[in-house]
C-alpha cells in the first residue's frame, strides 16, 4: 500500500524508489552504450581516441608552450596524464548529465521515474571510457617506469569520488536548469574553469606559490583531491594533506545537496519544462 501526501517531506524516499532509479539509470546507460555503436563510424575507437586527443592537447599547451615542469624528476606526460582519465570521466558526466532532463523532457513529462536516474545513467559510458583510458595509462606507465599497482585501492577510491562529485554538480545544474535554462549556457565555461583550476596539467604546489597562506581557497574545488589522489595512487607523489579533506568534503557535500536539490525540483518539474 502506498500513500502520497501533499505534506510529504522532500527527503522521503522508499527503497522501491531507489531500486527504480537504479534500473531506469541502467536502461538509459544501456541506451547510450547502444547509441555509441549506432550511426558512428568508429564506435568504440572513440574510447581510445578521446583520452589520446586530450593528452595531446595537454602536452602541447602545458609542456611545450607554458613549459610546466613536473616535480620529483617525473617526466611531464606521466605526471599530467595520471589524473587525466578521472577528469575526462567527470567532464563527461557533467557535460552530458546536467542537460539530460531538458534534453529528455518528452520522456520526463510523460513518465514518472526518480529523476536522478537520467544524469546517473551518463556515468555508464563515462565509466567505460575511464577504464579504457586508465588501461592506456597503465600501459604507458609500465613502458616508462615499470608497472606499479600498489596504489590500486586509491585509484578506486579517487574514481568513486570523481563520479559522485561530478554527479553532485550534474544534479545541481539539472535541477536548476528546469527553471533557468540559461544555466546550461554557462556549462562550457564552468567546465573550462574547473579544468584550469584543478591541478591536472600542473603540480599542486603552484597553489601555495600563488596564494601562500590562502591557498586553502583553491582546495574548495572538489577535483583537487581527485587529481592528487590519482597521482598519489599511480605515482606515489603528492602526499595527501589536511587541505585535501576540504576538497573531499566539498565533493561529498555537493553530492548530498545535489541529490536533495533534484529531489526537490522533481515535484513540480513538469510544470516548468
Amino acid at each position: 500500500m502506498t500513500t502520497i501526501q501533499a505534506q510529504d517531506p522532500i527527503w522521503r524516499r522508499t527503497t522501491a524508489e531507489i531500486h527504480r532509479a537504479r534500473s531506469v539509470a541502467w536502461a538509459f546507460a544501456r541506451r547510450d552504450v547502444q547509441l555509441r555503436f549506432a550511426q558512428t563510424r568508429m564506435g568504440w575507437l572513440w574510447s581510445l581516441g578521446q583520452p589520446l586527443l586530450a593528452a595531446a592537447i595537454v602536452f602541447i599547451v602545458f609542456s611545450w608552450i607554458v613549459q610546466v615542469q613536473a616535480p620529483n624528476g617525473f617526466s611531464y606526460p606521466l605526471y599530467a596524464f595520471a589524473a587525466l582519465p578521472a577528469w575526462l570521466m567527470a567532464q563527461h558526466i557533467i557535460l552530458q548529465g546536467a542537460p539530460s532532463l531538458v534534453h529528455n523532457q518528452h520522456i520526463v513529462s510523460k513518465v514518472a521515474f526518480p529523476r536522478q536516474a537520467l544524469p546517473m545513467s551518463k556515468a555508464g559510458v563515462a565509466l567505460v571510457d575511464f577504464m579504457v583510458a586508465s588501461l592506456l595509462f597503465v600501459v604507458f606507465r609500465g613502458y616508462t617506469l615499470g608497472v606499479w599497482l600498489d596504489g590500486l585501492h586509491w585509484v578506486l577510491l579517487s574514481s568513486l569520488v570523481s563520479i559522485y562529485a561530478a554527479l553532485g554538480i550534474a544534479y545541481w545544474i539539472a535541477a536548476l536548469s528546469v527553471r533557468y535554462r540559461d544555466i546550461l549556457a554557462l556549462l562550457p565555461f564552468l567546465l573550462q574553469g574547473l579544468f584550469l583550476l584543478t591541478p591536472i596539467a600542473y603540480p599542486t604546489e603552484r597553489f601555495a606559490s600563488a596564494l601562500g597562506a590562502y591557498s586553502w581557497v583553491l582546495y574548495l574545488n572538489p577535483f583537487v583531491c581527485i587529481a592528487d589522489g590519482m597521482r598519489y595512487a599511480w605515482l606515489g607523489v603528492d602526499d595527501l594533506n589536511n587541505y585535501h579533506l576540504i576538497s573531499f568534503l566539498m565533493a561529498t557535500g555537493l553530492f548530498i545537496t545535489g541529490t536533495w536539490a533534484l529531489k526537490g525540483a522533481e515535484r513540480n518539474m513538469i510544470d516548468h519544462l
Binding site: T3, A6, S23, Q34, I107, V111, D271
Partner: protein
C-alpha cells in the same frame, strides 16, 4: 491510513493549485479543486469533461509526475501510468532494444520484459526481420503498434490511461480495448481512463466522473454520466462561446457556433454561423467540424476544403456561414469536434466542443419521417423501377 478491503485507490481532498507568476502574479488558480474519490478493485473509472477541466492534472498527480498541493491518495499494489505510447523510443535503436528501454521506463524488470518480449512482438504483428531494424525505418503506424504492445504487457494492478487510444488504426485500437477489458476481467485490474471518445469510455468503464473547471460535477454509472455530459454541452440558446484554453497556435480561433434558424429539424433548411477571431488577415484557412453521434462515433464532416470552398483571404475576424438546404441528421443528440488550420498549421483543436439536438422531421418534403431511435444521417438517393 488503511484501505477498505476491496478499495484500489482512495483519494482524499486531493487538489492542485498553480501560483500565478510574472504577469499573472496574484492570479492563483486551482487546476483541480480538492477531490474525494474511491475506486474499487477491478473497476474501471472514466474521467470526462472539457479541456482544462482538471482530468489530466488528476492523472498527473496519481502518476507521480507532479506533487499535490493539498490532500493525499492511497493505493494498493503496483500502479502504472500510460500517458503516451512509445515513450522513450529512440529512432536509432532497434525495435527489440526499444521494447527493453520503454519497458524499463515503465518500471518493468529486464527479466519480465525478456519473458514477454515474444508476446509483445506477437501482439504488435511486426515481422521478425523488423525487430532488429532501427525504428526510424518504421512507418508511423508500426511505431504506434509497437508502443501499444509494450503498454499492453505492462504488469500493473492499477492502470492509469490518458487519451492514448486516440492514435493507431481502428482495428488495432479495438484489439487494445479488448486486451484492456480481458485484463480487467481476468486479473481484476483497476483502470482509470480518460478519453474524448465517449463510446470507448462507455464500453470500457463501469463508472464515470465528470469534471469541469477543476471541480467534480457528477459521479455515477458511466452511461448516465456521459449522457448528462453530452446534454450539458448542448446550449439551450443553440449557440456556444468557446473558451480560450484549447490546443493549437491560437492565431485564429472560432469563438462562437450557432444555428441561425433555431434548433435544426430533419429535412428543414438551416444555417450554421461560425464566428471567428484573429489578429491579421488569414490565408488558406480550413475549418473541419466533425459531427459525432451520441456514442461518440464519427458520423459526418462539416468541412470547408472538403466541400471545395477555398477562399484565398479571410478578414482578420468575421463570420462563416454554412447553408444546409436540408438538415440530413435524424432526430437525436449530436456533438462536434473542431479542428481549425491555417496553411496546414493547427490553429485550434478541441473535442466535444458543442452539441446540438435535431428534432424529428422528414428528410424530403414528400417523404415520411424516419425514426431509427438512434443517430443517423440521411443520404440523397433516387428510386426507380426497372421493368
Amino acid at each position: 491510513m488503511s484501505l477498505g478491503k476491496d478499495t484500489a485507490i482512495q483519494i482524499q481532498g486531493l487538489g492542485k493549485q498553480y501560483r500565478g507568476r510574472g504577469a499573472f502574479k496574484g492570479r492563483d488558480f486551482w487546476a483541480l479543486q480538492p477531490l474525494d474519490l474511491e475506486v474499487k478493485e477491478g473497476q474501471a473509472l472514466g474521467l470526462i469533461g472539457p479541456n482544462g477541466a482538471g482530468k489530466s492534472t488528476l492523472l498527473k498527480m496519481l502518476s507521480g509526475l507532479t506533487h499535490p498541493s493539498v490532500g493525499k491518495y492511497t493505493y494498493r499494489g503496483h500502479m502504472t501510468s500510460l500517458l503516451e505510447v512509445g515513450t522513450g523510443f529512440h529512432p536509432d535503436l532497434s525495435g527489440r532494444e526499444n521494447i527493453y528501454l520503454s519497458g524499463a521506463l515503465y518500471g518493468m524488470k529486464r527479466s519480465e520484459i525478456a519473458k514477454s518480449i515474444d508476446a509483445i512482438q506477437d501482439f504488435s504483428g511486426l515481422h521478425d526481420r523488423y525487430m532488429d531494424h532501427p525504428i526510424k525505418h518504421y512507418s508511423s503506424g508500426m511505431k504506434v503498434r509497437l508502443g501499444f504492445s509494450v503498454a499492453a504487457h505492462l504488469q500493473a494492478d492499477i492502470l492509469v490511461v490518458d487519451e492514448v487510444l486516440a492514435v493507431g488504426d481502428a482495428r488495432f485500437q479495438a484489439k487494445c480495448m479488448q486486451r484492456m477489458e480481458s485484463q480487467m476481467q481476468e486479473h481484476g485490474r483497476t483502470v482509470l481512463f480518460v478519453s474524448h471518445n465517449l463510446y470507448a469510455l462507455q464500453s470500457l468503464c463501469h463508472e464515470a466522473l465528470w469534471l469541469q473547471d477543476g471541480e467534480a460535477v457528477q459521479h455515477g454509472p458511466a452511461e448516465a454520466i456521459t449522457q448528462a455530459y453530452l446534454e450539458s454541452v448542448q446550449d439551450p440558446k443553440q449557440g456556444i462561446q468557446i473558451a480560450h484554453d484549447h490546443a493549437g497556435s491560437g492565431k485564429l480561433r472560432i469563438t462562437n457556433l450557432m444555428w441561425l434558424k433555431g434548433p435544426p429539424q430533419t429535412g428543414q433548411s438551416n444555417t450554421l454561423k461560425i464566428t471567428y477571431q484573429g489578429d491579421s488577415d488569414h490565408q488558406e484557412v480550413d475549418v473541419r467540424l466533425n459531427v459525432l453521434g451520441r456514442d461518440g462515433r464519427f458520423l459526418s464532416p462539416i468541412a470547408m476544403h472538403a466541400h471545395g470552398f477555398r477562399p484565398e483571404h479571410l478578414p482578420a475576424q468575421g463570420e462563416l456561414m454554412v447553408h444546409f438546404a436540408s438538415i440530413p441528421w435524424m432526430e437525436g443528440s449530436y456533438s462536434m469536434d473542431l479542428r481549425l488550420t491555417e496553411r496546414g498549421v493547427v490553429a485550434q483543436e478541441a473535442k466535444n466542443i458543442w452539441g446540438f439536438k435535431v428534432s424529428s422531421g422528414s428528410f424530403l418534403a414528400e417523404g415520411d419521417p424516419y425514426t431509427a431511435g438512434k443517430n443517423g444521417v440521411h443520404v440523397s438517393q433516387q428510386w426507380t423501377i426497372n421493368s
